[in-house]
């Protein structure tokens, strides 16, 4: 039997898509500049179906890409031309939520925010909060080690995944990790998180839940320059405080957010949001120290949320910033490079200079506490050469981040978009080690082929992988 015939035996007609019109929605993810036509899309409802589909792919040597809601900003769930897409959104059951054990066991298609919603009656929540959390799925969060606004204090997805059931690219089912916060033996589930689907597909995910903080103290401070806001962040850190979140927005983002959701932000050069959280007595003391630090930081205006409604209002503008900036421009690229916190000022000055040099506007919204920048490069795809110029500018920003001692990506992942920049951050031996691990677990190069690793071509046997890389890096 051919591949498609065998697929038909596994999936009923409504859950196997092969017609052009049916495939179209799966041709790209949130990085819409890239499109690829898959051979077929399947919609599994149970993990056994995923396993069977992966085994079928292995037997026939067909590349596959697992995807959830397709919110990847790095093209991480871009299909492989002629390959299979495993769309996992129907595997959206929370299999177990055990408040006593503080864990949730979920299928990969469960939406991030849904876990916190279901845990809320028990006073618990799931900490990682990527901006996409009302839509993005945990399978995707696991693949990309998603972050959010609270990573300095709480870490990323990898820190909140306790166990995984995974189907390897060869179709073997393995259980990694366990229900305890502690384990013995190599942290294989920790290693799987962030490998962007290159080493298999997560079938079940065990998450740790945290008690929801008792009290919040949310402060909004206005500054005359981005640098002054950046310096304020350093002063907060030097004071020994550990806020749950610190966010900065520049003038362009503030204006956009204001136009979109009327958050009531002052129209200034830079806004800093600082949020403290914890037991109420502790937050009270921390707030006093924060007031003193911000008072000495040259803020031109300070607002403190006096109610949950005011707190939500402060966050509303920040959370809407991306889509709001989108309204300022026909198209934009989002980068998410990281710099050491103390180099933020330097990075922002250089981004400003690059923006002028390329004649393209760049809006800055970023997680200042963890040095994770989110420059939005605005362009008009209908103007000849503007996309290319925007990509070049975005690339310059990535190189800048690496040069300053940071990373290409804080949370969006490498995907297809940034794999060409991997040699900027990693030495050939580092990348070859990744290639070797990939090859050992996925000898046919089927799982999310063409992502992350710059040496990986569309065919694993094209001229021999190692030879290609050897020459590339010679």
């Amino acid at each position: 039997m051919g591949f498609l015939e065998e697929l038909r035996a596994l999936f009923p007609p409504g859950r196997l898509l092969t017609k052009e019109a049916e495939l179209a929605p799966y041709e790209s993810d949130a990085l819409t500049a890239y499109r690829k036509r898959p051979l077929a899309v399947v919609l599994p409802e149970r993990k056994e179906e995923v396993v069977e589909a992966v085994r079928l792919c292995y037997r026939h040597g067909v590349p596959f890409v697992a995807r959830g809601s397709g919110t990847s900003l790095s093209g991480g769930s871009l299909p492989v031309e002629g390959g299979l897409v495993l769309a996992l959104n129907r595997m959206n059951r929370i299999l177990r939520l055990d408040p006593k054990a503080r864990i949730a066991v979920v299928e990969p298609g469960v939406v991030n925010l849904e876990v916190s919603r279901r845990a809320a009656p028990f006073g618990l929540y799931y900490a990682p909060d990527p901006s996409s959390q009302p839509i993005s799925t945990l399978g995707g969060n696991v693949a990309f080690n998603s972050g959010g606004a609270h990573c300095l204090k709480y870490g990323m997805t990898a820190n909140h995944v306790l166990a995984l059931e995974v189907v390897t690219p060869k179709g073997e089912v393995v259980h990694l990790g366990g229900p305890s916060l502690e384990g013995v033996g190599p942290d294989l589930h920790g290693f799987f998180v962030g490998t962007e689907g290159l080493l298999g597909v997560a079938l079940e995910i065990t998450l740790r839940l945290l008690p929801k903080p008792e009290a919040y103290h949310t402060l909004l401070a206005a500054y005359g320059s981005l640098e002054a806001a950046g310096n304020a962040v350093s002063q907060v850190i030097q004071s020994g405080l550990l806020p749950g979140a610190m966010e900065i927005m520049d003038r362009l983002s503030i204006e956009a957010a204001e136009a979109a959701v009327k958050a009531g932000y002052p129209q200034v050069e830079a806004l800093l949001i600082v949020e403290l959280e914890g037991p109420k007595e502790e937050v009270e003391e921390e707030a006093k120290l924060l007031a003193q630090v911000i008072g000495e930081s040259g803020a031109t205006e300070v607002r403190i949320a006096q109610s949950e409604a005011e707190r939500q209002a402060i966050w509303k503008g920040r959370k809407a910033a991306f889509s709001a900036v989108g309204r300022l421009s026909p198209d934009y690229l989002v980068q998410d490079g990281v710099v050491p916190r103390s180099r933020l000022g330097e990075a922002l000055r250089e981004i400003g200079r690059l923006s002028q040099a390329y004649g393209l506007r760049v809006a800055n919204v970023f997680h200042a506490g963890d040095g994770n920048l989110h420059p939005l490069v605005l362009y008009d795809g209908k103007k000849l050469g503007e996309l290319e110029r925007a990509e070049e500018l975005a690339g310059e920003i990535l190189k800048l981040c690496v040069r300053l001692g940071g990373s290409l990506t804080g949370e969006h992942g490498i995907g297809v978009e940034k794999k060409g920049y991997m040699p900027e951050m990693f030495a050939p031996e580092d990348l070859l080690a990744m290639e070797r691990v990939k090859e050992a677990l996925d000898p046919k190069g089927l799982a999310n082929r063409g992502k992350v690793l710059p040496g990986y071509g569309q065919s694993p046997h094209q001229g021999g992988l190692k030879t290609d890389l050897g020459e590339l890096y010679a």
Binding site: P99, K100, F144, N145, G147, C151, L152, K153, M156, A158, N159, V166, K170, V174, H175, S180, L181, E182, G183, V184, G185, P186, D187, L188, G190, F191, V193, G194, G200, P211, K212, E214, S234, I237, Q238, G240, L242, P279, E281, E282, E285, V338, P340, S342, H367, D370, G371, S407, L408, T409, G410, E411, I414, A427, E429, D430, A433, M434, R436, L441
Partner: protein, 348 residues
């Protein structure tokens, strides 16, 4: 037993290329993991020590793997910072690399997480003598395969760690400990269960069998009194308040309660597993992190009971078979093959 003392990255590479089987050793505080077996050459990493980069305002440092934790913590403490996963066996000479290889955390992991939550990057020499870097030196990073996380608990299976980068946090300005005795284990477990789900931001939450809870709080001195009182009224017990609690917790994290036991083990635990664990012939012991982490001292029959009961554990001293169960073959073996094809390093 042959033993070599590399003092540079280059010498580690040389050692790996010239010796067919190697057993890395840091401070030797976990002899079950660092004692060479038949045919192994001991790779003593105590010469690769020292902090390479430390920017307190970044909450990040990079140090050689052979750096003793004691040395490291002194430097951090001078800047009001600490390793929030609270590594054990510091007094006994534990090194950063050995702690990663064993995957060990201590009582204060309850507050912000364990070792796996603070490791940011690694530079290691793989089984072919190649230098590989994973992760980075910033607190947030999603680029490339996270080899640094693979090192946690690896027992050195994939390579010799040379440099490690970690996230650190400010040390609490003040601490207090509340010790509460309950009537019996079941009651202690019920209280433990309640405390785990409340937003109390506890630094440590330990169960000392049969029925004592030790609860540590950290924060501003002005708030601590109120928080201790709130805890007392929540528990409806006065308990015993330790205002000077540092020495006590140093003893706990150095596993002083295991002294005298021939076999030391780490057991990943859970609240619902504790009644079963308590029915086994275990020696002196303490459940850390709200019941999720057990360190126990055993006699040989206690170890046998763990193994017969299929309970995962890691032996730190006193037995040859250290890891139970073995890592899942279908995922572990290919990674091992990719990084250590000739099987120079421990495990597999």
């Amino acid at each position: 037993m042959p033993e070599i003392f590399p003092s540079s990255l280059e010498e580690v590479r040389e050692a790996v290329r010239t010796h067919p089987r190697l057993r890395p050793k840091g401070g030797g505080s976990k002899p079950a993991l660092s004692s060479p077996q038949e045919g192994e050459t001991l790779l003593n990493l105590s010469g690769l020590r020292g902090i390479l980069e430390y920017a307190p305002e970044e909450f990040v440092f990079t140090a050689y793997a052979g750096t003793p934790l004691k040395e490291l913590e002194e430097t951090l403490r001078a800047h009001g910072q600490y390793l929030p996963f609270h590594p054990p066996l510091v007094e006994q000479g534990a090194t950063l690399g050995g702690t990663v290889a064993a995957g060990l955390s201590g009582p204060m992991r309850e507050r912000f997480g364990g070792l796996r939550d603070f490791i940011l990057g690694v530079r290691f020499v793989d089984g072919e003598g190649r230098v590989v870097r994973g992760g980075g030196k910033v607190v947030k990073n999603a680029a490339g395969f996270p080899f640094h996380r693979l090192m946690v608990g690896s027992l050195g299976a994939f390579g010799v760690m040379v440099e490690l980068s970690f996230k650190v946090f400010p040390y609490p300005r003040a601490t207090r400990t509340l010790r509460v005795g309950l009537a019996h284990t079941a009651e202690a477990l019920a209280v433990l269960q309640d405390l785990r789900t409340l937003p109390l931001d506890l630094l440590a939450l330990d169960l000392v069998p049969p029925a004592t809870l030790e609860i540590r709080l950290g924060g501003f001195p002005e708030s601590l009194e109120k928080r201790v009182q709130r805890l007392q009224s929540l528990l409806q017990r006065e308990g015993e308040v330790l205002r000077e609690d540092e020495a006590h917790w140093e003893g706990v994290r150095n596993l002083a309660f295991l002294e005298g036991s021939p076999i030391w083990v780490k057991v990943p635990s859970r609240l619902d597993l504790i009644p079963h664990l308590e029915s086994l012939p275990l020696g002196p012991r303490r459940y850390l992190a709200g019941g999720d982490l057990l360190y126990a001292g055993l006699e040989p029959h206690g170890l046998k009971a763990l193994r017969d009961g299929g309970i995962p554990h890691l032996v730190l001293r006193g037995a040859q078979e250290v890891l139970f169960p073995s890592p899942p073959e279908a995922f572990f073996a290919p990674i091992k093959r990719a990084l250590d094809p000739k099987g120079r390093f421990p495990l597999g």
